[in-house]
Symmetry: C2
Subunit: 274 residues, 2 copies
């Protein structure tokens, strides 16, 4: 079974550069840590056709999961569910359970004195209109429920764009599904700091080390200033056993450190974690 | 002529969530401010097929520009130019001018005492291998030149992933092209802070205001804590004259402020700039 995942970030604020796409990074990190492979992150504007096209394209690549973030709220430009419905060729319908979630939330707000009336205006009912076949995911932080729908072996999950709401629904309802799909897999990573050596000198050393250690991915990131250059070497691996992952990374740390030192550079390990 | 642009961010570090995609946001903000419309941001891993597919898909949507960032350096996983060559069906060849740029840089490093030998190893020559028909863009900060290539009316630009290098090449060589393509267009935005009102209550007010002001885009962003909710209303418009843009935004600020106040909420203007 494929263990890959695609992320679709919906929001015009991301395309005009107003907002940093922290949600994309957060989801990518969580999915990777849970053992899945993030295949692509696509950012589109608040437009039904754009959302629908991005989803259809992702479906064609046949990942195990597609997670979207953004576009579930009450305003006119919250269009993710319309986009999902269009992509799947289904209708949007008020979902009883979703409506109850929304209704209960507003009743709670009234009880807390945050608003006067809990009436279900069309803008509030909108958040409970799900694509046919979809189910709501409880949102412990905000109003709009998340949405999950199965389509030809792909699990599509739509999360809100407000980070705290997205994170809460992910942790409550999505992480367990990803963990189950990933099986007993751990992601392990470490970062080394190489100084006194240029990236073009490190390049052949990385090549050699990766040939000798095919399960470890090594990527160099030039950091520091022009006067004090340093290169971060990021090592990562995915394995079924934590011990295997650690042994692989440990072996690479030793090999690449020796090679860099032979070339007159210095290596410092500054982070290692699973 | 289309004034749209697509951004392709290349880097496995983005897909494992190790690195925040600040380059995507920076490019999106610059392109928007220069008057272009960013249509999509696609993030793919360091893989020739992935890069090639993303580029071909973007080409099919026929934007005026496609800008990529990442994957131009000397290491094995810097594969953007191979991906571009594959997508366009051309070969990679050492480009004389690009080679001279790379060579001069290393000679400079030797003169500065940062390295001993300026020899052109295969890893360094790699940075001067461009897709046929492409030209290098001078990199005032680092070693790898940017790359520009015209393809059936679309200008494809590949920039490095190191932020300072990407920004330098963009400002030196890319911004003038975007500005010319955009013509006399200004992007103007303002942010308002709405308190004492819920997003679902603001939703119909936004609808009404946007119907009355079709050239202004209004988006609500729930901010603040659960106890002290506030909604940021972000207004933006693109116009040929700064005065027109400012008048449009000014009119919307007045209308939406009055409407929010009528519903018992409060409005504060906290940012307005072009």
């Amino acid at each position: 079974m494929s263990k890959s995942i695609e992320i679709i970030c919906v929001g015009t604020e991301l395309l005009i550069g107003k907002t940093m796409n922290t949600n994309g990074q957060w989801l990518a990190k969580c999915a990777t840590t849970l053992g899945l492979k993030v295949h692509r992150i696509t950012t589109v504007e608040d437009d039904i056709d754009e959302i629908s096209n991005a989803l259809q394209e992702a479906l064609q690549r046949n990942p195990r999961f597609i997670i979207s973030t953004g576009g579930l709220g009450p305003t006119f430009d919250d269009r993710t569910l319309e986009g999902v419905a269009k992509a799947l060729g289904v209708e949007l319908k008020v979902h009883d359970k979703a409506l109850k979630i929304v209704e209960d939330k507003y009743r709670e707000y009234v009880e807390e004195g945050r608003m006067e009336k809990a009436e279900l205006t069309p803008y509030r009912v909108k958040m409970a209109k799900l694509p046919e076949g979809a189910k709501p995911l409880f949102n412990s932080v905000g109003t709009a429920p998340g949405v999950i729908i199965e389509h030809e072996g792909v699990t599509i999950i739509a999360l809100p764009g407000v980070p705290s709401e997205m994170e809460a629904i992910f942790e409550d309802s999505v992480a367990p599904l990803l963990k189950e799909a990933a099986g007993n897999v751990v992601f392990f990573e470490a970062s080394l700091d190489a100084t006194g050596i240029m990236e073009s000198e490190v390049a052949p050393l990385i090549d050699q080390t990766m040939r000798d250690n095919p399960y470890v991915y090594i990527k160099s990131h030039p950091k520091g200033s022009e006067k004090f250059p340093r290169i971060e070497l990021h090592l990562s691996t995915t394995a079924e056993e934590p011990e295997t992952a650690k042994n692989r990374i440990g072996k690479v740390i030793i090999q690449i450190s020796e090679m860099v030192q032979t070339k007159g550079g210095k290596i410092k390990v500054f982070k290692a974690k699973s």
